[in-house]
Symmetry: C2
Subunit: 319 residues, 2 copies
């Protein structure tokens, strides 16, 4: 099968044997999205070597004997696979299992290939009303829904989202389902325009604003995001940190105790509400897709993903 | 009156006019404690110029006409004075009033002088069972009790406190009132010994430990404290940041989202439970006091406060 292989900061298209699942389902990937984490790993984050990619939609082609009903279904998949034995796994929180593998991120080959394997427990069937392109967004949107589990946001809550990339856009859309006071801050005119087309109050970073905010979500992927969040948040307010910053970052720490700010780290989230928001058209993602490319054009895809909103691999196409 | 005056990183003993309270009570200070914040201000933090000192006990000598009942009482005092008009003040949260003054820290002369003034609303009478030395600890202990308001700590909660100074010691004692799993980490053998005499499980920083911990409180006053806290805390655990770090600090930020850690900034706290814990002898502070010096020996006092547990000014003495 075709597979993009990451090794020492280099991505290469290779011809690898199709994986042989042991106790897992074999999924033929039809589409896979490029995420900021993929770009960070290309730059050295997480020391991953193997096939990256963790946002996908595909068709189950094979399954263990007792899970044959999955075969033929169109699925998306949760990316964390736990050991099944630890305290976290026993609580159903496999994303914090210390022995976990993570699709395309940690000791498990990912979705930038014709095939991947995942346990059936990780799979979610995609409803017919949701397109393949829409389904790509289930995993990142789930991570946005995680913010709703971690913070108390109601109609009166004033929320700022920093970062006008794909994640910031999705988070702002999710926040808009709970409160009418959502502002998205960014630095790219074309990305802010796309956000406004989705009905988001999107502003350039240096716009005078009517802060401070009760909740500030940092989705910049950059160290400066948290520094700006500390400026925007009110005393006793909450910052949700979505950005995974690879290197150590200098912060004005004294603002945290002086203003009694709470910072909450936020990672993966629940698939069910994300599937629901997409299937019902409450979160709209079509405008985010700037390119759909075959695996063979991975160099162009990765380059464009650094500046454009969303670049997707179409594995049903050949380059 | 005698007063220590801080100006451009220099502390000088001066003879100043006694303050004339307008709508506030006049307090004759009998004892005042040196806090880490005082030392940081001496090093330039908060750009304060004036009389520092915010941990005190004293006798009310004068009061506005409608508050004459305070005269003669022995008191400690909350250090934040709000504007009385803003949203925070209307909620009774004067410590976050944007226009607040803070005793000895922000636009208000403090306790390293024979007299200070505070509104009667800030004062708490000291019960007869509590010594002057004990009363000095009400303000810092209140800030430790704040942690109990911000976190859910019950009998089974595993707590680590980092920092074996006066604040870390007090926090550990407060945590011990809620859970039997408290470990204090530090780097000074003599301070750890003092903690053990108070019944605290106190260990050197590099001792192999049985972490991770549900809650980690950083009271090191040093940037490295938060870095170590990120190592000690479990996934989805809570770090309480008590340290006020004057300069920007480099942090391994990615651990926050990856482990979904919550960091809570914590500052001033409620006086009533602190008074209660001290008056009932549940928190013991005698062992923390290493020196009681007259105001005239301020240079020695400040120097010793950098390495010893607690140095106190006795304003009833003359140097």
């Amino acid at each position: 099968m075709r597979a993009l292989v990451l090794d020492h900061h280099t991505l290469t298209l290779a011809d690898l044997p199709r994986p042989r699942p042991t106790g897992e389902c074999l999924v033929r990937v039809t589409h896979a999205g490029i995420c900021g984490t993929d770009l960070k790993m290309l730059d050295g984050y997480a020391s991953f070597a193997g096939i990256p990619g963790h946002e996908f939609v595909g068709i189950v082609e094979d399954a263990p004997a007792n899970q044959r009903h999955w075969v033929g279904r169109r699925v998306v998949g949760e990316i964390n696979v736990g050991c099944g034995a630890c305290r976290w796994c026993s609580q159903g929180v496999k994303e914090h299992c210390p022995n976990r593998t993570v699709l395309g991120i940690r000791q498990r080959n990912g979705a930038f290939a014709d095939y991947l394997t995942l346990p059936a427990a990780n799979l979610h069937e995609v409803p017919a009303s949701l397109s393949n392109i829409g389904a790509i967004f289930v995993e990142p949107l789930a991570s946005c829904c995680r913010v709703l589990e971690q913070t108390a946001i109601d109609r009166g809550t004033r929320v700022a989202v920093i970062g006008d990339g794909r994640l910031g856009n999705l988070i702002a859309q999710v926040m808009c389902t709970r409160t009418t006071h959502v502002v998205l801050f960014g630095r790219h005119a074309h990305k802010l325009r796309a956000a406004r087309l989705s009905g988001i109050d999107a502003r350039l970073n240096d716009t005078p604003d009517d802060g401070p905010y009760d909740v500030v979500v940092d989705a910049t992927g950059r160290p400066q995001g948290l520094v700006r969040a500390l400026d925007l948040v009110r005393p006793r307010g909450t910052i949700v940190l979505k950005s995974t910053i690879a290197h150590d970052t200098a912060l004005p720490l004294s603002q945290i105790p002086v203003n009694e700010v709470t910072i909450i780290g936020s990672r993966c989230g629940p698939f069910a509400p994300a599937l629901d928001l997409l299937a019902r058209g409450i979160v709209r993602v079509e405008r985010l897709v700037s390119a759909t490319l075959p695996l063979e054009q991975h160099a162009e895809a990765m380059t464009r993903a650094r500046t454009e909103l969303k670049v997707i691999f179409d594995l049903t196409a050949e380059g």
